[in-house]
């Protein structure tokens, strides 16, 4: 079963090609990471998956719907979180969740907010303005907003950026638990290789707008003859070849 299908998608901004004819599929219930250096095209790809950005060419199907033409059919079933997109700071946590609950037509909204407040440990500060919370608390609130509608597809842009290791670990654990419980599909853009190794079934390695490699973290590590995803990332980013890849090339 496919959750996302991207076919020959290109996005250009004038003469700049941000994403160049990429194609991939993401299986339902999987966790996939978009990896790449700055300017590799991750955020552009994520924005197109959300329907925020219209591709210059190509097709994107999300949960069975054409994302360019029928995004409003699928938006109620997905959600998104990014440390770079804020929720209104003057509103309290409860007010923020109430507003977004209405936007997502969440049934029994008060109960749902109470449930999330308990799960994500928001109760202590639920009636405090968002602007007065710590980074870790804000991340938990963003998480609650992203889970309000119990989405079938979660798109996360650097979900643990600027979090201390303890909070980051807690967030990762929560996502894994959520996925195990609901069978949701998760797509994340990240620079944190430990996170990717721990959470992801599949990695799409992007460089200069193209997908240059893909596979399960363990397979990629083995293929590049490295010990960690970070080393694989550096090999790709710096056009560096690992001894093992060199060997296989020499053999061929």
């Amino acid at each position: 079963m496919t959750a996302i299908e991207v076919q020959s998608v290109t996005k250009s901004f004038g003469p700049v090609v941000a994403v160049d004819a990429i194609s991939f599929r993401i299986a339902k219930g999987s966790t996939t990471a978009l990896l790449g250096g700055n300017g590799a095209g991750k955020t552009t790809t994520l924005s197109m998956l959300l329907g925020l950005l219209i591709p210059t060419s190509g097709d994107i199907t999300v949960l069975g719907e054409d994302m360019v033409r029928h995004r409003y059919r699928v938006l109620p079933r997905l959600n998104f979180s990014s440390p770079y997109v804020d929720l209104p700071h003057r509103l309290t946590v409860r007010q923020n969740l109430t507003v977004f609950g209405h936007l997502y037509h969440v049934p029994r909204l008060k109960d749902r907010i109470a449930e999330l407040a308990e799960e994500l440990e928001l109760s202590e500060f639920i009636d405090r303005p968002l602007g007065k919370l710590s980074a870790g608390q804000k991340t938990r609130v963003a998480l609650a907003k992203a889970l309000l509608n119990a989405p079938d597809l979660l798109l996360l842009d650097e979900p643990t950026a600027s979090l201390d290791p303890d909070t980051a670990d807690w967030v990762r654990g929560y996502f894994q638990d959520y996925q195990a419980r609901t069978g949701a599909t998760i797509v994340l853009a990240s620079h944190n290789m430990t996170e990717v190794e721990r959470m992801c079934d599949c990695v799409l390695m992007m460089k200069r707008g193209s997908i240059v490699d893909q596979g399960a973290p363990r397979d990629l590590i083995a293929r590049y003859g490295r010990d960690t995803m970070e080393e694989v990332f550096l090999d790709i980013a710096r056009n560096r070849q690992s001894p093992e890849v060199k060997t296989s090339e020499t053999k061929s």
């Binding site: 109430t98 507003v99 609950g101 936007l103």
Partner: protein
Amino acid sequence: MSPRRIGGLCLRHLYILKGSWPRLLEMAYWPTINVVMWGFTSRFFAQHSSWVADAGGILIGAVLLWDVMFRGNLGVALSFLEEMWSRNLGHLSVSPLRPMELVAAMLCMSFVRTLIGVLPATLIAIPLYHYSIFDLGLPLIAFWVNLMVSGWAMGLLVSSLVLRFGLGAESLAWVLIFAVAPLAGIYYPISTLPEILQVVAWALPPAHVFEGMRSIMLGHGLRTDLLVSAMALNAAYLVLGSVVFLRVWQGARIRGALLNVGE
């Protein structure tokens, strides 16, 4: 269109208003100051001008109705700017909220902001200057609605400019509407303008409304022709404002401006 989503977005703005008395005060402050100032001016003119004396409160009425249009415009633009200031447009854009629902919520909030802004000034004019705009009777509703809709069309245009050119264009929310003021005939009949400007003025709905207001206050009765033309023009401008906003929104989806919008 989903009333629940529209209501949800209105709730977001109402929460902010509820939690911030300085914002509420600011909304009512300027219209009230305006009325106080124009009230004294009006009192002075009444002693020296038969035209003003014949129509008691004509200047105060004009000030109040102009504020309806001004606040109508500002109400739409501020609701949109709030989303940009708080960098919340990205979350709204990936929610099921449709652009038309966003527009509808901005218009609803504009109505609320206009009421909060203009109502205290309207009530203050009664004891201070013995002038009640409610004496206009039922036509007041038609004038109010028409001017507010003119403000909405202008507010949508301003919001489109801000979305297209970024927050650098935000000052337009306050100043652009003043380009219309000299042509709207707020304080003087349209016939005062040079002929070429009269043509432009009659293409603007507020000119029809203020002319209609003067007709009633000078005892010439309700001019339904002016009312009908104001309504027709307003319908056209509101559709135009909405179309421009939706097109700019679509353009922002092509340029990628919705996710990284903000200060």
